[in-house]
Amino acid sequence: MPNKRQQTDAGIFIKKLFTQYSYIVSFVLIIIIAMAVNPNFFRWRNISNIFTQSATTTGLIALGMTMIICAGQIDISVGSQVALISGFGIELLNRTESIWLMLLFCVAMGGVIGTFNGLLVAKGRMPAMIATLAVQTSARAIINHFGQGGPFTVAGGNANAPFYESFRMVSSGGISVFGNRVSYPMIIFIFMSVVFGVIMRRTKLGKHIYAVGSNEVSARMAGVNVDRTKIMVFAITGLLCGLTSWLYSSRLMAVAAANAGNQFEMDAIAAVAIGGASMSGGRGKIIGTFLGVLMFKIINNTLVAANVPTFLTGAISGAIIIVAVLLQSQRDKRK
């Protein structure tokens, strides 16, 4: 019920900032804390590192996860997808020695797995949590089986292999802008964020995603192809998992079947949550997720700089998620 009392413009602005744009408030707060703890925070190297780390782990996936969550779905298979695709991708690279063929393979395989997820949910009428849980378990089992516990290593660890260096440069190479080196993953992450922002705001697909997440029945009655929309969001997230696998493999150069991509689903979902999306679907912004991803890395980065024991960093990240999502649930309650 609306508040009938007169409010000043400034009051409205502040209320809006804390409710609808809570992610901006959180972001600024975290930056201030990070600067206080780590005097080198604003060094270009540090910033570039944060972006590169984001892009090669959960940054891109979180963009797809935003779509999935806005459509009222969830995907907990992304981490295992990355493990599976990275493992097979490296195998393929070692045989074909072509990094571009590997990229193509990774993206295609991600697309196939994502589409499969989407089909289970849309056509199989399975709850997304269960469908993707099954895919998560299966994908991890398959890659564990092929890896037999050991890692998949690019060129068997032989740095003299002809493609070794060129593949390493995928994640560590970059271009120079005003004397600062901008890594390829950073460029990809920023570019994709812009693309996804435009898709969500300015295309039919984006509008359909919000419509389906808001109310499936109403969306259907408005002529939205609900099944196709659901399949699309899972498929797109699969593609992003594929792209991430390529970058991730390049950064690690050796991927362990058992723990590659571990916790990626949780980190991606957390980034979306911190970014202010409604967990029940219908509302959420790419810019929120973009900042959410960075916040996550900044927190880690800062905790390391502050010498917080590694095992405890998770607890602090958890606390931050709770605070961010509490802010958001207050907003939802007021509705």
């Binding site: 019920m1 609306p2 435009v198 300015r202 295309t203 039919k204 509008k207 359909h208 919000y210 419509a211 997440g213 808001s214 109310n215 029945v217 109403s218 969306a219 259907r220 009655m221 408005a222 002529g223 939205v224 192809n225 409604s278 679907g281 219908g282 509302r283 509705k335």
Partner: protein, 499 residues
Amino acid sequence: MLAELKEIVVDFGPVRAVDHVNFSVRPGEIHALLGENGAGKSTLMNVLAGTFPPDSGSIYVKGEPVRFSSAKSAMDKGIRLIHQELNLCNDLKVYENLYLAQEIKGKSGLLDSHQMIECAQRVFETMGANIDPKAPVSSLQTAEKQLVEIARALLFSCEIIIMDEPTTALSGRDIKNLFNIMRTLKARGVGFVYISHKMPEIFEVCDTFTVLRDGKWIADGNIADVNEKQISEMMTGKALLESDFASRKSNVQPEIALSVNNLNSDGIKDISFELKKGEILSVTGLHGSGRDQLADALFGVQSYTGEVIKDGKQIKGGIESHLKAGIAMVPRNRKERGILNDLSILDNLSMGFFNTKLKSLLISPKKERGRFRRRQQDLSIRADRPSNPITSLSGGNQQKVILGRWLEADADILLFDNPTQGIDVGTKYEIYKLMLSLSAQGKSIIMFSSEFAEIMKVSDRCIVMFRGEINRILNRDEISEESLMYYSTGAIIEEKQHA
């Protein structure tokens, strides 16, 4: 005085649903609460039953001021509301539903199902209802479910029973039965509040009445002192407007816009009819007559066999092909099936355009705003800014946005499924006028409705359904409250069966 409501005010957002209303129930009376949809009857009764507190005003039970924090606290005072929508858990058994949240426990602390079943059995016997307390609710007919709801009120010896349109799903015999039960309880001093749109029932069973309109108290008195016409005028407050519709001219053109041949689907059999260009065809029938299913089938929501032919071509199944063919629907249950509540007014309106006509890859917000302004004028949508959420609008304006959605998609056959549900009287008339002006533009309209009053206002013809079939197609001069009631209760079909 069993219960009294004084100066009750309820606000829903910017809408004042109940505006300083006084209301009272005496022991041993059946009090009719009258008003059109959206007049505030249900809201007022929800206040009396403790579902939500009033924004201001006070409630007295037997002279004592009370404050209900929940439906439970009102039940403890002997007040029970039987909702319009049945509130039963389908997967539980009948007796489990009856005792839900008020289970009888044995000495051991476990449930005493024997005693519950026995008590339930006794209540059903006093009601003369043949329902097995151990049957799962999902196996019951709608009428039986209604009786279970009533049994729930009897079980806990309530002193005030509020019935919100209890007879919509009941047949003649069940209604008689219900009235007998009500009279018996009345003699024992129980007070009833009875909400119904069916005038004959009101005059049969009620003693007193209160009329609400647009959330305001209009009149009260004894049923014996008034007639049907007076009540209708009090309810609508628009005796003049009625005549506007009575003298309206028909826009029916000779061309056939849509023909439906032997349509069969879940809940409907062998439906065939033709819709002319510019015609307003109503479809009515009681709850469960197949009216909802026919609406869904014609928009492709529900799959069917048979032919739906428009412009000489048969339409394939599915919503998308119906939309492509120019058939669109303003769905019933606006909140659950119509609006996209997280989206802006603009996106809600544009969704129809996006899904049928958008050619470019990117959406231009500027063009969308232009489209909105045009429709805002056409349909006189009262909205502040198009970027506001759709939920900031009143029900009637939300409905106009959904209608605008399909006008943007250039639909020329518009299905209005229960279009004025929960909409205030003024906006209702605006929607009727919109329908008339659309038909004058050559668009054809099928309106699915259970409100005889609105059917009589706008229709050129009316299909009356009974048990999934077309019982009768009435021409405009044949449409009357009596004929609609006669055919929707299955008169002709039953006669045939007896012959």
